[in-house]
């Protein structure tokens, strides 16, 4: 009888602990197509389940793993955020081709991180902005579910746009510089050649040295005065301290 009571009370305690954990502790689910690690307990179980369905659909359609990670780590600063959550990604057994939405409740910052082949779709940083811009109104309302749904929807849209060609990207980023340089080069070529055809043989028509001589009778080189000026040179010793780190993915920067 006593043994039965002990078993029952243990089961009750375990049940209470499980209920308590389900309310205040992390929800985590990792599959091939998506991962939700809700360490900050941002989503309710229903919300997480609903998001999981959408993440799974998106993951299946794109072949990417969609990761939503919430935490209370309180990491601030773009570099630190990127470094910290890249380490987090490395520490988990996430898929190689993945896109991760990080919601850091501690610092109030969010970040989008891409890994593997997904990075090729986001070489154009403006594509991060498509997602961020769609999420922003929901974030302002602190509607994390709505924001996450926007993240899923817009990430799929970016996938459908295809990979960003490096050439196109270079054109967008450096095209104007190349354009200006090409106009200058073309003009310089035109003018230099026109000048080369126009002004031939004008120089060196008289050699004074060969056609003159001098017989000096009066030569004076008298020292008059001397002065010295001193100038203090300001040396610029500012140098970059040069820090670097290697992360596994690309970050959009905190927002």
């Amino acid at each position: 009888m006593r043994k039965k009571l002990i078993i029952r009370s243990s089961a009750l305690a375990l049940a209470v602990m499980l209920i308590f954990a389900s309310v205040f502790c992390a929800f985590a689910e990792i599959t091939q197509t998506y991962a939700i690690t809700d360490d900050a307990a941002v989503f309710s179980a229903d919300e997480a389940a609903s998001l999981a369905v959408k993440l799974d659909e998106a993951g299946s359609r794109t072949g990417w793993q969609f990761i939503v990670h919430t935490s209370n780590d309180g990491i601030s600063g773009d570099d630190a955020l990127e470094r910290h959550y890249n380490d987090y990604y490395d520490s988990q057994s996430f898929a190689y081709d993945a896109i991760m939405l990080v919601i850091d409740r501690g610092s109030g910052l969010r970040d989008l991180l891409t890994y593997g082949d997904v990075r090729a779709y986001f070489k154009d940083s403006s594509r991060y902005d498509i997602i961020k811009d769609a999420m922003r109104p929901y974030l302002e309302e602190d509607d994390m579910v709505g924001a996450t749904e926007q993240f899923i929807e817009k990430a799929v849209e970016v996938h459908d746009m295809g990979k960003t060609s490096a050439l196109v990207l270079s054109l967008r980023k450096y095209g104007w510089i190349a354009g200006i340089a090409s106009v200058i080069a073309g003009l310089a070529f035109f003018l230099a050649n026109r000048s080369r055809y126009k002004n031939m043989g004008k120089a060196g028509t008289y050699d004074l040295k060969a056609n003159s001589s001098v017989d000096l009778r009066d030569v004076e080189d008298d020292f008059v005065t001397q002065h010295t000026t001193v100038r203090t040179i300001r040396e610029d010793n500012d140098r970059d301290s040069g820090s670097s780190h290697s992360g596994g993915g690309n970050s959009s920067g905190g927002f």
Partner: protein, 365 residues
């Protein structure tokens, strides 16, 4: 008429001066004669040539009539002669002193143009043959891709004419005196200090300065730029003037007197004399002239004919001269540009730079 034609003593064919051999040659019997022999043979003939009064009167009359109508403002007028070989009428400008008969292609020297006060003191014979001048011209054009099609064709090359152009040359000896401030500047560093030491000197130079071969064109009707820029010539090879050197070439008579060019030459002499004295102030980093004065002790002006291979072409409605020094081969002038070709090439260069820039940009993504 006041014309000269130098004939071969063997076959009576026309004699021409060969710049490479420095001999007179007959293209019919291939005889070759040194200049001294040709001059001796024609000396008597040259002395009998006098200025044809009728020719001058007629030309002046034509000029006055033209000026009265307001159509002649360049000082030139046409004069006609009779070719001593074929009897054809040869029309030249008033400054032409040697030419070729347009009918029989025999060389004619208009002796009257270079007699009396217009008799040159020296002539620098051609050293560069027409073939070599053409080679130089073609070699130079070969390096230029944007010439109009056909510019280096036979018809263009045939336009290259050997012309003796008139120049005034001056040699002067001057007593010159230059006072200047000379500065020697030394800079060094010690720690974060930069020291500049300036030592100032009172510098004087005085003496006899000789300046030779200062030249100025003696023909106002031709482009000054062209006539001045085709220099330098090695005047040590100049010969006492003999009309026979002009045979086979064109020659121009001067239309600028010594007094016309004197101010320009004297200004050059003044600047050169100061420069010569400055050049003796060695070891100074800065020389600032305080005073310079000079006096001309000796001056000698000579009238010379210098050899130039020349052609003209029409470009953008303008007649453009192109000249090659008949002694050294130095080229002067303006070559025409095929604007279309150059524009296409410039666009290709621009596109290449754009493509390379864009591809290079991919390395920095």
């Amino acid at each position: 008429m006041a014309t000269m034609s130098y004939k071969c003593p063997n076959c009576d064919g026309p004699l021409k001066f060969d710049p490479e051999k420095q001999l007179f040659t007959c293209e019919y019997c291939l005889g070759e004669f040194p200049p001294a022999q040709v001059q001796q043979m024609n000396q008597q003939k040259e002395q009998h040539e006098t200025y044809d009064e009728r020719e001058v009167k007629h030309a002046e009359q034509v000029k006055q009539e033209a000026q009265a109508q307001g159509i002649d403002d360049n000082g030139e007028y046409a004069v006609s002669y009779t070719c001593p070989s074929c009897g054809a009428e040869v029309v030249t400008t008033s400054t032409t002193a040697a030419t070729t008969c347009f009918y029989c292609y025999n060389p004619i020297v208009l002796g009257s143009r270079l007699s009396g006060e217009f008799n040159p003191d020296r002539v620098l014979p051609f050293e560069l043959s027409k073939e070599k001048a053409v080679d130089r011209f073609l070699a130079m054009c070969g390096k230029r891709w944007f010439l109009p099609k056909g510019f280096t064709g036979k018809s263009q090359v045939e336009k290259l004419n050997g012309v003796y152009f008139p120049y005034w040359f001056a040699d002067e000896q001057k007593s010159a005196h230059l006072t200047a401030t000379g500065k020697k500047i030394r800079t060094w560093r010690s720690g974060n200090k930069e020291y500049t030491e300036t030592r100032v000197f009172h510098v004087v130079r005085g003496g006899d300065v000789v300046i030779r071969n200062v030249f100025e064109r003696a023909l106002k009707s031709e482009s000054r730029d062209m006539l001045q820029s085709v220099h330098p010539f090695d005047m040590s090879k100049a010969q006492p003037f003999a009309m026979s050197y002009l045979s086979g070439f064109q020659a121009e008579k001067r239309d600028l007197d010594k007094k016309d060019v004197e101010p320009v030459i004297e200004q050059k002499m003044h600047e050169y004399a100061e420069q010569v004295l400055k050049n003796t102030m060695e070891g100074y980093d800065v020389i600032e002239t305080e005073s310079f004065n000079e006096r001309t002790d000796l001056a000698a002006y000579t009238y010379n004919l210098l050899p130039v291979w020349m052609m003209t072409y029409k470009y953008n409605g303008e007649i453009i001269p192109f000249a090659i020094n008949g002694q050294t081969g130095k080229a002067y002038g303006q070559l025409p540009v095929a604007a279309g070709k150059l524009a296409i090439a410039s666009v290709i260069v621009a596109v290449l730079v754009f493509v390379l820039g864009t591809l290079g940009g991919m390395l920095f993504l």
